[in-house]
């Protein structure tokens, strides 16, 4: 009996010592101390706490790298050249990097952890991207699952945007989300208004950010956002245009149409907006006002499943089919799309099928 107790006691003691050693090792191995980020051959240096991702470390140093996925490794936008201090390419980076990029040390900075000093190359224009702590000015229902969020920038701050660009907003830690997360939203603001950012946000059931916006956000609350980012924008040709969107894809077109009105741009444009039923349509009054201000602008809402009491006498069917009926020859036109990647792919098939060259079709390919 005594021998058995001694054996059990020794085993417990050994396990205890091993656990302690693991804790100590973990503390030391994961404490990377302060690491230096040496940017553009030393023209800028930042000391950061080791252990975080390079994307977050740069953010905390006030350098904002384009990102549309909040650092999940899915958008492929956060590419930087990292000349030293990084491990070999990770499996989560591989799908986004071409062999040439790998040979030029291009990396996804959201996937790399800062464990030692790093030498980086950052394009100078990225130093213009800024972070603001704005205030939620209003949150308005546009329909049953889409809200317009209006953010006032801090007193004295202004932001110049190009219609089509997006910002990232921070969802603070809440409920089950232990860390803040970032999500991208297209800017819907009239570019003349440099002191506000308007966003059109659709609720994604069970989504981290949109649940926060719909259930926990209130006017007067502070909100962090950074940007502007993105290359989606109107060309400066005179070509006739088609816009295609559904749901919250409305956002960039509000900004683009306001810009056309402000600058008296008289290009012909037809906007096909796909929705299920009348209750899903948004911004009808604004579209009417744009039609009045821009004689060459036409808004074509199309419903795929109108309800009997919708009394709908407008276009019915899939938005791509309606577009094809309205525009049989697209060979000399341009198209601007805002929707999920699958929807954009479906539109590209429909547009090229009616003669539009693929290089005349514009959308955020990473979204």
């Amino acid at each position: 009996m005594m021998t058995f107790l001694i054996a059990v006691g020794s085993l417990v003691a050994i396990c205890g010592i091993l656990a302690l050693l693991l804790v100590i090792a973990d503390r030391y191995l994961n404490d990377y101390g302060i690491c230096k980020l040496i940017i553009n051959k030393g023209s800028r240096e930042e000391d950061v706490e080791g252990g975080s991702t390079l994307l977050n470390s740069l953010n905390s140093a006030g350098v904002f790298i384009p990102s549309a996925c909040g650092g999940q490794g899915s958008c492929g936008l956060c590419k930087l050249k990292v000349h030293s201090g990084a491990p070999p390419v990770l499996p989560t980076e591989e799908p986004h990097l071409s062999p040439e990029e790998v040979s030029e040390h291009v990396r996804l900075c959201c996937q790399l952890k800062v464990h030692e000093d790093m030498e980086l190359e950052i394009p100078e224009e990225l130093f213009n991207i800024r972070e603001f702590e704005g205030t939620v000015e209003s949150l308005t229902d546009l329909n049953h699952d889409i809200k317009r969020l209006r953010v006032a920038l801090p007193e004295g701050e202004e932001l110049d945007i190009i219609p089509g660009q997006y910002v990232q907003i921070e969802t603070p830690a809440y409920k089950k989300t232990p860390e803040p997360v970032y999500r991208a939203y297209s800017i819907a603001t009239d570019p003349h208004d440099k002191t506000h950012i308007d966003l059109v946000i659709r609720l994604v059931p069970g989504g981290i950010c949109t649940t926060f916006v719909f259930e926990h956000m209130e006017p007067g609350q502070p909100i962090k956002l950074n940007g502007p980012y993105g290359d989606f924008r109107l060309t400066d040709t005179e070509k006739e245009m088609i816009f295609i969107a559904g749901g919250s894809g409305m956002a960039p077109f509000l900004s683009m149409l306001a810009h056309m009105r402000n600058e008296n741009i008289q290009r012909k444009v037809t906007y096909f907006f796909g929705a299920r039923a009348k209750r899903d349509l948004i911004c009808l009054d604004e579209m009417k006002a744009f039609e009045e201000a821009l004689p060459n602008f036409k808004f074509v809402p199309c419903l795929s499943e109108p309800m009997p009491d919708d009394n709908w006498d407008g276009d019915t069917g899939l938005v791509t089919d309606v577009m094809k009926q309205h525009c049989p020859d697209l060979s000399n036109m341009e198209a601007y799309l805002c929707g999920s990647p699958g929807m954009c792919d479906a539109s590209v098939v429909a547009l090229t099928g009616n003669g539009m060259p693929e290089e005349n079709i514009f959308f955020d390919k990473f979204s």
């Binding site: 899915s74 989560t92 938005v319 791509t320 539109s347």
Partner: protein
Amino acid sequence: MKKNPAEQQSRDRMEPGALTIEGFLGTDDRPLADIIAADTAEVEAAGLTIEELGAFLEGLHKTADAGWEGRVPACNGKITVRSDETLGQISCPFTSCGDHCHKAVIGVKDAAGNDLLEFTPLDAHLIRKHGFFQGKGSPYRIGPKKLIAFYRFCKG
């Protein structure tokens, strides 16, 4: 149970709040390999493969995409599919993978308009590529039994 570092990294991404609000494991604390093995065995016992089931869902997502907000017929009119899509993509939680999927929920109805199934593009990917139907109690788990019955209905 012992978990290797790669499994632990993937599990960390499956925790609530990491990639998604509820995470991927529900109340299931079995090792990932055990969850996958049990569900795969059920699929194979029915004479099917995880690739077939996952690819079938991926195909339905592709069909639904063509509709923007609209409902599209599939499987010779036996069902209709509609994708509630948002912009943005979600990464696969397996750290060895690197793939990512559209954020969407695809709703499937039968010809009479009754709801049959809801799935996300990530569900389809996780099943096809990893044999992972998610942990028990995960809000997006579609158990093999339900999925096999649905597949047979559509193909039968």
